[in-house]
């Protein structure tokens, strides 16, 4: 494939727009979470900066950037400073394979609204989610503090466990779409979204992604009541900010993937595709916040029990059932 100036400009443009949109969305998701949680807990939430508190993310960013950047004297300096980036980068990279809308015609050529349509898209996502573990593990280890280390070990074992059920719950989707390519998966849902055929896989995937995001009820790596703040206890300023923003970028990415795999991605009647995709992602983000406002934290043995003895066998059975169904149909 040869690239001319317009191709390169389009690619750079896509990447820049995507970056801007993701970071803005993540910043506003933080605000949305604080407002919605406030509303659920019968209090007001941040409403001072700008109209209805809409400039709060800006104020937060300025605060984080101007804060003192502390590195504990006993920390492993190299890994301590690398870890936040290791946590945020996989979440951002996931967006490279997400198609946000139907292909469009721009400058006289067809443009996919997707940075790259990899042949191994689903595997690319699984690879990134398995790499995301390192940020948490190394952040806590390099801090050289016992709360951080405990948080890291919890985070490691939790992510390994739920990655398995997450990956297995995607196998039926790949079986139905007959492709790892995300655009093929969306196109295979032109008639009917996969949630209709695979409600069980959807449920397993949803629980697993909440665990992958380390959100309540699975937030044991950063359980405030027992571990101060878990793996990021020793972090301050923008390094903490990267962990924090990385978590919200991850929520958006996983919400987007859930809607791609099970709800037909950008497909929908009447409204333009990008708007449909945004609505679906927003629904998932709201669900994450809603769950956080509703459920208590699991105990550690319950967490492991749920992952290994319930979700993983269920996902395996689901694969078997899907195989039979496809063979006998």
């Amino acid at each position: 494939m040869t690239w001319d100036a317009i191709d390169i400009a389009l690619m750079v443009g896509k990447i820049l727009v995507l970056f801007f949109v993701i970071l803005t969305l993540a910043a506003y998701l933080v605000l949305a979470e604080r407002r919605i949680l406030g509303w659920m807990q019968d209090r007001i939430g941040p409403n001072r900066v700008g109209p209805m508190g809409l400039l709060q993310p800006l104020a937060d960013v300025i605060k984080m950037l101007t804060k003192e950047d502390m590195i504990p004297s006993a920390a492993d300096r190299l890994l301590f400073s690398l870890a936040p980036a290791m946590a945020a980068i996989p979440a951002i990279l996931t967006f490279a394979i997400i198609p946000v809308g139907a292909p469009m015609v721009l400058f006289g050529r067809e443009v996919n609204l997707q940075v790259t349509d990899l042949d191994v898209g689903v595997l690319f996502f699984l690879a990134l989610s398995s790499i995301a573990v390192y940020g948490i593990a190394l952040g806590g280890w390099a801090s050289n503090s016992k709360y951080s280390l405990l948080g890291s070990i919890r985070g490691l074992s939790q992510l390994i466990s739920y990655e398995l059920s997450m990956g297995l719950s995607l196998v039926p989707v790949v079986m139905l779409a007959k492709s790892f390519r995300l655009s093929d998966i969306v196109n295979a849902q032109a008639q009917m979204p996969f949630i209709v055929y695979q409600p069980l896989a959807f449920a397993i995937f949803l629980v697993s992604i909440i665990a992958e995001c380390r959100r309540i009820p699975f937030d044991l790596p950063e359980a405030e009541g027992e571990l101060v703040a878990g793996f990021h206890t020793e972090y301050s300023g923008m390094r903490f900010g990267l962990f924090f923003v990385g978590e919200y970028i991850n929520i958006i990415a996983l919400g987007a993937l859930a809607s791609l795999f099970f709800l037909g991605g950008w497909r929908g009647p009447l409204l333009p595709p990008i708007l449909w995709f945004f609505i679906k992602v927003a629904i998932f983000s709201f669900l994450f916040i809603w769950v956080r406002g509703t459920l208590p934290r699991l105990r550690y043995d319950q967490l492991m029990h749920l992952g290994w003895k319930f979700l993983t066998p269920l996902a395996l059975l689901n694969i078997l059932a899907t195989g039979w169904w496809l063979a006998l149909r």
């Binding site: 492993d76 890994l79 398995s130 390192y134 070990i153 490691l156």
Partner: protein, 161 residues
């Protein structure tokens, strides 16, 4: 462009592996090794094997090294002060292995024509899996049985007495 990228990635792979061997701290060694796996995965990708690239990251960087890291963190093996310096006698196996690798590479390079086609094609997932489960089906089954034996053995050794 691909050739330049290949040399950059190869340099990263070799450098990462060297650092992993020489690092005094086990956790840092893991980070270096993961870096080299990453670069290796990208090399596989530009050589037209996207599936191998993905599995390199998922299995080696994302599963095996994470388990290593988990064990090191659990047992707190990360303190390098306690480790003794490697003695001269410890170097012999490494030297012998190194000579064996250099020897075999030289033999292969000398005996073979440069058969690498300039225009290689990327293999799609479909072709790859068809070859894997038909042509190499027996090998795949044998390996999976072997893994199952290892699993059962580990369960037996780790059972509660």
């Amino acid at each position: 462009m691909e050739t330049t990228l290949f040399y950059i990635l190869s340099a990263v792979t070799v450098f990462g592996t060297l650092c992993a061997i020489t690092a005094r701290q086990a956790v840092r060694a893991i980070v270096y090794l993961v870096t080299s796996f990453f670069a290796l995965a990208l090399i596989f990708y530009i050589l037209g094997a996207p599936l191998v690239a993905a599995f390199e990251v998922i299995i080696y960087a994302g599963a095996i090294m994470v388990l290593f890291l988990f064990v090191i963190m659990m047992l707190e093996l990360g303190s390098p002060e306690k480790l003794p310096k490697p003695r001269l006698a410890d170097w012999w196996p490494a030297v012998i292995l190194f000579l064996a690798v250099v020897g075999s590479v030289t033999v292969i390079a000398a005996s073979r024509q440069p058969a690498i086609a300039p225009g290689f094609t990327a293999i799609s997932v479909r072709e790859f899996s068809q070859a894997l489960f038909t042509r190499y089906g027996i090998a795949v089954e044998a390996i999976s049985m072997q893994l199952l034996f290892a699993l059962v053995g580990a369960l037996y050794l780790g059972r509660r007495r």
